[in-house]
Point group: C2
Chain length 353, copies 2
Amino acid sequence: MNTISDIKITQSLTSKINEVDFENLTFGSIFTDHMLICDFKNGAWQQPEIKPYEPFLIDPSAKVFHYGQAIFEGMKAYKDAANDVWLFRPDQNFERFNKSATRLAMPEVPEFVFIDGLKTLINLDKAWVKHENGSSLYIRPFMIATGSGVIAQPSTQYRFMIILSPAKSYYSGEVKVIIAEHYSRAANGGIGAAKAAGNYSAQFYPTKLANDEGFQQIIWTDDATHTKLEEAGTMNVFFRINDTLLTAPTSERILDGVTRKSVIDLAKRENIEVEVRSVLVEELVHAAKEGSLKEIFGAGTAAVINPIAGFSYQGTYYELPKLETSFAQDIKTKLTAIQTKDAEDTFGWTVKV
Amino acid sequence: MNTISDIKITQSLTSKINEVDFENLTFGSIFTDHMLICDFKNGAWQQPEIKPYEPFLIDPSAKVFHYGQAIFEGMKAYKDAANDVWLFRPDQNFERFNKSATRLAMPEVPEFVFIDGLKTLINLDKAWVKHENGSSLYIRPFMIATGSGVIAQPSTQYRFMIILSPAKSYYSGEVKVIIAEHYSRAANGGIGAAKAAGNYSAQFYPTKLANDEGFQQIIWTDDATHTKLEEAGTMNVFFRINDTLLTAPTSERILDGVTRKSVIDLAKRENIEVEVRSVLVEELVHAAKEGSLKEIFGAGTAAVINPIAGFSYQGTYYELPKLETSFAQDIKTKLTAIQTKDAEDTFGWTVKV
């Protein structure tokens, strides 16, 4: 079972597309007409199926509810001027998905199911991908443990799914961040590097506390000393000190972001000096005080590049300068142009659906 | 809405009870005829409902699948010789459940829904609780985020459920453990103290590696230095050095186990010296070498008390002595007798259903 004709397709009789206001989309809230499902049982992946997007039945004792075996990926597809649809580095997401699977003791998903399944699904819902500026199709492959039983052991049954959501942009408005001083996102030897559902639920309460103080996001630090800057939970983070771009190396605690590595490659091509190394909180504060800290921005699939207006640490707020031309804006423009095929893809990152 | 008559009850037309072999139960695999469901939406808990146990419909974008907002409790009910059913310290589980809810940015569940709902549910499935030696009813209250949307924000809709599973014993056979040297269960400032689904998925892969080496469980250590003994993931851990019982203090990384605190109280009543303090790995190894380490045992609702035969650290296996009379056995006997009402409950821990 490894050709596209092996995917069972049940087309939706009607489309919801005319009900959707594509100019006013709340990120991740509207889904296309179809979804992909592939179940793992008896030690093997079953036939993938594309069918109308709808709720599904699950047992109350399904292990995903009790023991959190759940992983996902975030990807985007773009439509070019010729109406062709393009994926951005899908091989990277596929590879990372299976790394997450291994870390959570879940089975690896075959490339046929993940990549060919995705392409087949997108082709069916191609009309949902718009060419308009800022439009994209957000792609959410995920896997959950569907085996039943409330004993703390890995499941023997899993469900892999892909759902699609038309998107404009992720964040709106000014983003101020707070540097984590008490709460943490990930442990040494933990699952921080996996795109695991459990990593996100841990962040909601501290983020709510930050929101209450007027900050939209948290920049997480290492849990042992809170002295090293790590990532922002839904984004990796870059710091521009003078004209050098700094970002933490990936580790067991930090997600190996696809946008992060693309930003590094793109910045290097633009002759921007990039240092991938541990960045200390005190270094950031010092740079902010002496004026050498020019920019902070997040990098992630949903937001692409998200400029940060300022950060708070130990009760002091450090406002970043408003720049005429910023690395964040320049890199975002160039990266988006590659993704949407408005610029030549010299890296070979884009893949036609 | 706060009396038992406000719970909507739909009784099952048939019972599965005659299909069940109560002498040969796999822990957590068989469920009783009914379950309790209570939904949270529009900022309020809705009417609780008891209905036949069955799968339910959920949206593929439900936040529990993507962002891991899922918490649970483990409790047990016992039937005494007079056919009355007793809960063990349900107030403790209720309190901890709501602490977990807060840490995961989920709404607190009202006492009426959790406690009165549970009692009503158990009364309906009372025939499933057996008086026979070692029998109990394992109770699994849990809450999941049912709101839809793939944006990393807390859900606005939740489902609280209680399911019941008849049980004999949790572990069988000799339990050997390995002391964690690389992998970790929880971060400082993380969610280790919450009974969150995500904490368990993180342990499956390292546990699988331990299983491959012939060990059934891992004793987790602090993630920063791996020098302090913490808990076993599904159990808290006690160490007996000479005649003193040692266990780690609860913290952000360690679950405040109900069995753990009951063991401490019971041991003190039996004039056993108990030290609640950080226990170092090197202290354990030293005690094992000099022969003062007499016992290690786990304490948790599912297993009650689980004696450990030996531990491995840095490639060396330390076998524990086989004792004629052990603290583990003595405490287990006395605790179980209180739970099953075979001994007087001087602590006021048992609550009649």
